[in-house]
Amino acid sequence: MNKEIVSDTKMISSTATNKGLHIEEALIFEQGSTDRSGVDLPEISGRSDRLGKLKRLDQIGLPGLSEPEIVRHYTRLSRNNYAIDIGLYPLGSCTMKHNPRLNEAVARLPGFSNIHPLQPPSTVQGAMALIKELEEWLTALTGFPTIALSPAAGAQGELCGLMVIRSYLEKQGDPRETVLVADSAHGTNPATATMCGYRTKSIPSNDSGTLDLQALENMLDNKVAAVMLTNPNTCGLFEGQILEISDAVHKSGALLYCDGANFNAIVGKVKPADLGIDIMHLNLHKTFSTPHGGGGPGSGPVAMTSVLAPYAPLPWIEESASGFTITEHLGDHSQQSFGRMRAWHGQMGMFVRALSYLISHGGDGLRQVAEDAVLNANYIRQGLHKHYSMPYPGTCMHEVLCDDQSLKPAGLKTLDVAKALIDQGFHPMTIYFPLIVNGAMLIEPTETETKEILDQFIDAMITIANHSTSENIAALQNAPVHTPRRRLDETKAARNPILRWLQDTGPSAT
């Protein structure tokens, strides 16, 4: 046997820098040749073009690849993707839960997947009945009488909510100027308020990681239109003073908006309307398991009180003795709606998936979802609390917050932990968020993970913490090593972004 080839210590590296069957993939522009094409069309003879001076003389610069080359290119790239169907995806405040296959099967029924928003309502009565039933489930779970389903995602739901608030306050003749946002909020909250024309101010959190009620009371005046709060908040803690908060907000004449990003922790346990909240959005793609990101569009319905309901956006569906009708225009029934958020009626495919999820779980199943999500997060908390510092004591809700204070003396930072986790085979948690905790690591396992997976994750985290000693620290600071690319220079990427590829010169910083 040839010793050189079987030796453990010596590897013959691939000339193309491939690893195993993991192919190093060039940019699509760097492959093929411009005279190649996926389709083979015959030359047109006997005809001349009439472009005259408009005729392009230079190269158009499109890549030229055959069909199999294209298929392989994108399939190879897709293998560099990480997905919820591959493993644990513990991004805090993102609720990356399993997307049940039943939902997918139902959403692909031709009666739902082959309809068009311009079809006459009489031909889509079933789809409209589904939307109405989804409304009933979501209003039952939130305790609000009205829900607007059309917003396309969480941030658009926020914008919808603030536009409703603005419409209502302007109608009262008291438009107001300011929106107060908890300092632990998602960045979308202040961005939404600003986009809606309000000045934003940040409400500080107290030492326990919840909203500082006294500070809020001091900030509330007759210029504050709304307060935006997430409950449970992004520290994974339930805002226990929510009733005092809503009282204070209402006394000042403002409205309380709730960001529903973390609804998964309390669904079936408490109705947000009972907490004094006036309006909130839900993320169907978080709490109700419709796919995130590349798997499908988001969906951010907005639930609200009867006081705000007249200002809800169009369209909405109504049920009468002769069937379901859709109200699409001002004047049909309402003069007070602020109008539409978007074209068409909302993310129909997501409505089907969400309703499938709701019906298949039932009320008791949904309550267990919240309980198991909280249990899983606390299981991780218990497994890690001797190895990682945690800024706030006590149990958490659906996500657990650690930081890097205990690792700092050894020279290890949150970013190193995240990169080292990749080498351990785990997608990192949310890092450096919420902003109020230095070196934050926010872990949300969701209810769909097993004890075995949670144990493996805890073991990987403990392994990293245990290696934060002087002889091992360099290895952790160099992580990841088992990935197609090593640690990327994020600073250089942000300061000198390469946003387009140019012919001849290749990537160009423009």
Binding site: G187, Y432, F433, L435, N438, E490, T491, A494, R495
Partner: protein
């Protein structure tokens, strides 16, 4: 160099050399602790020259590889000059937040505002209390 005063939001302000009391010019920036916490800064947006800002107003935006943050002006006044070099090279805020990495200067509306800010010793002990 004049002594700087500090805020709990980790901004500093110091009077420009030779500035008259009646027309005091303040220079503002972020502290070394702030740049350390932010990590590598990749973008900064400064206020327009000529605008008037109130103490505590969000007067600039800082983006680092970790997060986007607001810069709250430690004193009130009219912005008279901005540091264009940090717009071109935001890394200067990381390497020298106290001198080269200053943000903007302003004509103080009320120099007595400085009295409510922390001096260097008080700020140092405030930072120590955070860790």
């Amino acid at each position: 160099m004049r002594k700087a005063k500090y805020t709990k939001d980790h901004e500093w302000v110091r009077l420009e050399e030779g500035g008259e009391k009646t027309n005091a010019i303040g220079i503002v920036g972020i502290t070394d602790f702030a740049q350390e916490q932010l990590g590598d800064i990749v973008f900064v947006e400064l206020p327009e020259v000529g605008i008037t800002v109130q103490k505590g107003d969000e007067a600039a935006t800082i983006e680092s590889v970790k997060a986007a943050s607001e810069f709250f002006t430690p004193v009130s006044g009219k912005v008279i000059n901005i540091n264009n070099t940090i717009i071109d090279d935001p890394g200067l805020i990381n390497s020298d937040p106290r001198e080269v990495g200053w943000f903007f200067s302003l004509e103080l509306a009320d120099p007595s505002e400085l009295e409510s800010l922390m001096d260097e010793a008080a700020y140092e002990s405030f930072v120590t209390s955070l860790s």
